[in-house]
Amino acid sequence: MHELSIVQGILGIIEKERKARGFTRVKSVEVQCGHYSCVSEESLAFCLEAVATDPHMKGAALRLVRMPAMFVCRGCGVEFPGTGPETRVCPSCGAADPEPQMRSELFVRSLEVD
């Protein structure tokens, strides 16, 4: 249930923005995660609905944008997106076994508010 920690982080960011900007309703939250982040949109949305009981969060939707997996070629050093661990060849020089760049970073990308 690390979704709970993540949702608490998201709500902290929303609260900070609400205090600074004074909006009264959050319509949607866009969250970005790395390809290998262990989160799913369904469980995050479920958890957000359960935890966010303040009136300004009522009906707020959550969208998760997963970034593509990135690889760095061990031969020529070029960085390129791939489909996952099955990516095995550099598109630039053809060297095998590129190094996956594990990015688990989670960001609140944007808010849609009234």
Binding site: L4, S5, G9, S37, C38, M102, F107, S110, E112
Partner: protein
């Protein structure tokens, strides 16, 4: 109205992790974050490691479990000061809980080596930085040699891989070469230690690795 942000969600945890990193560096302490499945042999690995590191002198342990203090009792018997954190319904340790435990340990003793035994789980603990020097992935041969690519985040971030229970190898279909090959696809540099915590086989290189990391601080 749309507000564009790009704010880090786990910023609070990362701030605590950074505080831990600074506090550990100031005291010259090396902290390892042990992550593996329930039953991978993390506690048994620690018991043996504590005994081999000069009977536990200068070693302290932070135990993370959902419930009970069973692991802490075992570690205490092995000869190291220990703080148990019960996470309740939490699936991982957070950097703030570790910060409080570190404070307690460092006030009572002056450890040079701290092992954090994270909650048994290959997924969530990998996402939460504790301010450690390195994550140690613990994988037992009974779990199978296909786990590395199934949980790539942990294995890619690991500073070392410890393969445990190698005494059971003849009774499993675990192929060490296959596990190593998968590990190298996601992690080029981290050393691999294959050992058995009951017999003590393979501990020499692992203990040397721990000592070397501690000396560098």
């Amino acid at each position: 109205m749309k507000i564009t942000l790009m704010d880090r969600v786990l910023e609070a945890n990362e701030a605590w992790a950074e505080e831990n990193r600074i506090a550990l560096a100031a005291r010259g302490v090396v902290m390892f974050n042990l992550i593996g499945s329930p039953g991978a042999g993390k506690t048994t690995l620690l018991e043996k490691t504590i005994r081999l590191l000069s009977g536990g002198a200068g070693v302290a342990v932070i135990e993370g479990d959902v419930a009970t203090s069973r692991d802490a009792e075992r570690i205490g018997k092995a000869g190291a000061p220990v703080v148990q954190i019960n996470t309740g319904d939490g699936c991982h340790l957070g950097a703030n809980a570790v910060h409080a435990a570190l404070k307690e340990l460092c006030a009572a003793r002056a450890p040079k080596i701290v092992f954090v035994e994270n909650v048994g789980n290959l997924i969530c603990p990998a996402e939460f930085d504790l301010g450690e020097w390195g994550k140690i992935a613990v994988l037992s041969v009974t779990e199978g040699d296909d786990k590395v690519e199934k949980y790539p985040l942990l294995f890619s971030l690991a500073r070392a891989l410890v393969v445990t229970k190698i005494g059971l190898l003849p009774h499993t279909n675990f192929r060490m070469g296959e596990a190593e090959k998968e590990f190298r696809r996601v992690n080029r540099d981290a050393p691999i230690f294959a050992l058995d915590s009951l017999s003590g086989d393979g501990f020499g290189l692992w203990i040397e690795f721990v000592r070397r990391a501690a000396r560098k601080r």
